[in-house]
């Protein structure tokens, strides 16, 4: 080991670390303000005002919440498996953050331009379930364990539909690289994959809602029957980490939907005579954020609109409706690719 190479590692590592901080800090801030947005938007949908006490118009509410959670005591149940109990929140948040490494925020603006980034995302989102499994088991509580069983079965089931939907995307783009997938959608709003892959798009987003355990698929924390789900025994910051991971995953699913089906950082006015030059100054990042924000709004809208699914209906929807639908659409898409159906597959 010579001196220069060691210095090189430190410099390279330092630069990567700074990039990670540049991605994670805004992400954490978005998580905080997503909770605020959720309470406000659902409040307005239900003709309430929502949080409006802390700071101007309640803008400091998430900060106050975070402070409160940090000050609280973390209680570790006597009969729990202490080691696993503590490690579970880490296992939930780590994949939720690590997945952001391959997300392209604009053309070329990506931390790790991995060739198989779509596969990487799929693998990481499938690891997230371990935190939930371990949290429920290590708590040594009936409610937590029941919820764990529910959510593990649900996540594994919907992952299959989600995986098939992603297969459709990679068939269309001919690449597993998220940047290439966006570049393949170039050419205006009708060239984006939401149109040729409409069923897969809908299935992907609904599976994403189910994967993140959000309403109407939030049986994992059905508070009316199993109090609060796998994290009943968690308090303070340990609980907050689960919360952070859930919202970070929501933002991830929304961003992925924007990247894979809504043209990512591409302008929606591409190819429209007057509007395209008029909006040419808008950076790609803004379009991506706007699209992701739209999907996040859908998340909140679902929560305010739909009642919770019954558990057997969730399983039925995942296995008997979504998976056959995706397989059928993959066949249709295969025919379209072979036939060179324009403007997407030529």
């Amino acid at each position: 080991m010579n001196e220069t190479s060691l210095l090189d590692w430190i410099i390279t590592g330092g630069i990567i670390l700074i990039k990670i901080v540049i991605i994670i800090l805004p992400l954490m801030l978005s998580v905080a303000y997503l909770t605020y947005a959720e309470r406000k938007i659902i409040g307005y949908m239900q003709v309430r005002i929502g949080p409006n006490r802390v700071g101007p118009r309640g803008w400091l509410q998430p900060i106050a919440d975070a402070l409160k959670l940090m000050m609280k005591e973390i209680i570790i149940p006597e009969k729990s498996n202490h080691y696993l109990f503590v490690i579970a929140p880490t296992l939930v948040i780590a994949p939720a953050l690590a997945a952001w490494a391959v997300i392209p925020f604009s053309d070329g603006l990506v931390l790790a331009d991995v060739d198989a980034s779509l596969l990487y995302i799929l693998a990481l989102t499938s690891i997230g379930v371990y935190g939930i499994l371990i949290a429920g088991w290590a708590s040594n509580s009936k409610y937590a364990f029941l919820s764990t069983m529910r959510s593990a079965a649900q996540i594994v089931s919907y992952e299959i539909a989600m995986g098939f939907a992603l297969v459709g995307v990679l068939m269309a783009a001919g690449s597993l690289n998220l940047g290439d997938i966006v570049r393949a959608q170039q050419g205006g709003i009708l060239h984006w994959y939401w149109l040729p892959l409409l069923p897969l798009f809908v299935i992907y987003f609904i599976s994403g809602v189910a994967e993140t355990n959000r309403a109407p698929f939030d049986v994992a924390e059905g508070e009316s029957e199993i109090v609060a789900g796998f994290h009943v025994e968690y308090s303070g910051m340990a609980f907050a980490v689960f919360f952070l991971a859930e919202y970070a995953n929501m933002i991830l699913v929304a961003t992925l939907a924007a990247l894979m089906f809504m043209g990512g950082w591409l302008s929606p006015f591409e190819g429209i005579p007057l509007l395209e030059p008029a909006f040419a100054w808008v950076p790609g990042l803004v379009w991506l954020l706007l699209k992701a924000a739209f999907f996040l709004l859908l998340y909140l809208w679902f929560r305010a609109t739909f009642p919770r699914y019954r558990y057997d209906q969730i399983m039925r929807l995942g296995w008997k409706v979504f998976i056959p639908l995706t397989i059928v659409w993959l066949v249709v898409e295969g025919a379209a690719v072979v036939g060179g159906l324009g403007p997407w597959f030529d």
Binding site: A116, A123, S126, V129, Y130, A152, D312
Partner: protein, 201 residues
């Protein structure tokens, strides 16, 4: 020592530790979790070999699906830990024999001329734009297409067989048919009876 070597030794140490813990810990859930760790570090080693597709697939399939189901079952089982601790001495001769045999086999293979350091020169790293996924796909769908398709047919047969074996209709199970549920009308379940008001005494 290069950076790759350092990463390799760290991952290898974790892998050996995790694999040992899989068979030495008492608690089956802990054993399963150590197996997960072993798979994960193994994927890291494969990444060092520039096999990123296989590495990620290992995480996706084994860590993300197989081990979740495994853990799912192990967590639900109410295993009495005591019988697991018995019979160590009784089974020791058999275990030792198998271990020695495996050791000899591995030694024979690894000491042969095909696996010596001369026969295995360090592979040249590929260029940054080399796509492992694309190469694998190209080979899988051209040279090995029959083997690949036969494997997929076998898997489909296994899936169907598993479903057929597990699907049984028990009497008294509260199975719900959504079609029946949708078809239900109030008139089928509810009878509105017109009754004269009872005279007041």
């Amino acid at each position: 020592m290069t950076f790759e070597k350092l990463v390799f030794y760290i991952l290898a140490a974790i892998l050996v530790f995790a694999a040992t813990r899989v068979i030495t810990v008492r608690n089956p859930v802990h054993a399963a979790l150590h197996l997960v760790l072993a798979f994960f570090t193994c994927a890291g080693l494969w990444l060092l070999l520039e096999a990123e597709f296989l590495a990620i697939t290992l995480v996706l399939v084994y860590v993300g699906a197989v081990m979740v189901l495994f853990l799912f079952v192990v967590m639900m089982l109410d295993i009495n830990l005591d019988p697991l601790r018995e019979g160590f001495v009784r089974n020791l001769p058999v275990g030792l024999t198998v271990a020695v045999l495996m050791f000899i086999e591995m030694a024979l293979v690894l000491r042969s001329k095909y696996f010596s350091a001369e026969a295995m020169p360090a592979p040249t790293p590929h260029a940054a734009d080399y796509s492992n996924t694309r190469e694998l796909g190209a080979v899988l769908y051209t040279d090995y297409v029959y083997a690949f398709e036969i494997a997929s047919v076998i898997l489909v047969v296994a899936i169907i067989a598993a479903i057929v074996l597990a699907l049984r209709k028990r009497p008294g199970s509260k199975r719900q048919d959504p079609a029946e549920q949708v078809k239900v009308r109030a008139a089928d379940r509810l009878r509105v009876i017109k009754m004269e008001a009872e005279p007041k005494d």
